[in-house]
Amino acid sequence: MITRQTMTRRRVLKGTAGASALAAAPGFLRHAGAAAPIRIGIPTVVTGGYALLGSQVIRTCKLVKKLTDARGGLLGQPVEFFYQDTQGDPATCVRKCQELVERDNCRILTGVIVSSEAAAMLPKLEEWNAIFISHGNGDGRLTAELFVPRFFRANTSAPMGARALALYLKDAPEKKFIALASDAAWGRSSNTAFEAQIKKVGKEIVDMVYAPVANKDYSPYIIKILQSGAQGCYVALQGDEARAFYSQATQYGLAERVQFFTEIVAQADIKVLGKDAIGLMGSSRYPLTYDIPQNTAFREAFMREYKNEIPDWTDGEMYQALMILFAAIEKAGSTEPGKIAAAMEDLEVTSVKGPVLMRRCDHQGENQGFVVKVARNDKYAEPVGEIVKIYPREVNTPDCRSSSFSK
């Protein structure tokens, strides 16, 4: 008799097996048959300010398609990705998703870059009969105030990034902190979470600073940080803003006076900053050097395919989101969005970031927390983030439907 326990174990095993097969399959196996493809919509940013992140989403999806087709597809069907350009604008994103759903019959959506695009899509998922898995949207509210049943977040959220850092900083020598964030929703989310967490571990936060979205000259903020007397500075900026900030901070010699802790460590930033990035500490949404079989397989497949490009956090998180999605599809035995959603709840997958549990109550994937420090590494052409500490997923994930942590 098949007991509940056996079913659960099988679910986990199947999920893990499916996910690792995805990464480890050799390329010469038979290709997927001519069955109708499984359609996945990717409304991402091709042109516009976030084009870099969009290009990373697309390259990882292409890699996944190659690997999946090589091992015979998913449920025996080939996987097909439909890419659309949202320009990072919520109105365009909703329009493109409408077309993906209605014209191309893509009811599985992922790869959305900007949190405000995601927020605009959430109320429409029911009407579209679609399912949306976030690979990189950080705003805490998406699984809290804005929760809808058809939305799942596979990635580390902004509060989770802040949490891992705050836990690490409990034992750090720095006592006074200042927090700098972008005035976007995820930046606010991140700073608020960091403030709450850092106070909990008994440290002092001197000021919370917000720079307008798309601000480029950080000198007033740098001067503020210098004046504040803080020993540590939490930085919740990403992309162009982060690079501008670190470039300018280096020019002020800020790193010698204050230790930076960043919410996202991005390989693209390290590449641009070069040796100025060494010593930077932060939370990592994708730990490149994490030494587990799933990650090693992914990393090697990626670098083989993209000629020694180092996978960035978007690549790793996108891969994880797809692994979880595929595991849910296999478990459901169907591509019908409602069934995938049901299968995804309480699904546990061991992915490139370790064991992830997609919890039922708010559809947030419980991820481990990684704190890294950027250092030179002989295996790679650029410095990379070396793991300094790992926090278990139960500790790193907020309370249900909220952005705060009671543990």
């Binding site: 601000n215 007033p220 690079r243 501008a244 002020y252 641009v272 070069g274």
Partner: protein, 289 residues
Amino acid sequence: MTFGFILAQCLSALSQAAILFFIACGLTLIFGIMRIVNFAHGAIFMLGAYVGLTVLAVTGSFLLSLLLAPVAVGGIGMAFEWIFLRHLYGRREGGAYLLLTFGLAIVLSELIRVIWGPQPLASGIPDYLRGIVVILGQPFPLYRLFLIASGIAAAVAIWQFLERTRAGLLIRAVAQNAEMVHALGTDVALVRTGVFGLGCAMAALGGVLAAPLVTAFLGMGTNVVIDAFVIVIIGGMGSFAGSLIGSILVGFVQVLGAYYFQDLALAFMYFLMLIVLVIRPGGLLGKED
């Protein structure tokens, strides 16, 4: 609130003003001569940054990039004016210029993405500009001092060019009364081409100088073009001195706004413009429209 702190803030504001000045000065020159609002100015700024970084990567010389990028982009600007803009001078409505320069902005931004890709380019401060100067106990980047110096040098150079040279005289004359200058035998069309090229070259130079500060990335032109418009309006459309004063004012307002009123930082520049326009609708040094 030490004197050193105040000085650091002032220098910071001036360094911002310097970059803004390069863009605004070009914009105001173009408007003064051609009465067109160049929507593509931000894209040209971006092009300058990318070309500059490429020159730096190829030759290893920052100075060469400061020289070659503005010349190259200025040349592209002149070509654009020659092929497209000059056909529009007879038209009454301003809509044609809007459309043309807006279209150019879109095309140029996309070309940059196609040629250089979405990955941002590494900033390239040469080692001799990398230092930190300690002024009254406050650290200040050497590069920003260099920016301020460049801004002053450029302002003086252009001022002298406009006041003392024959070409400058022609430009000022055309800005005042193109028909008369034409009647006196000068090829006004050539002056226009030259000024458009000069305006683009200035913006490109601003881009090369800004790149080490903010790195070169897609979309760096989008916000900067609006800032430039605001400065030119505050200073007075077509007034070179106005663009200088406007840049300094906006630089200070942005630094103060960011430091003391961070909730309203975005709005400060627009408050300033509103106040100026309500008091003097033509801008501080401009003529009534």
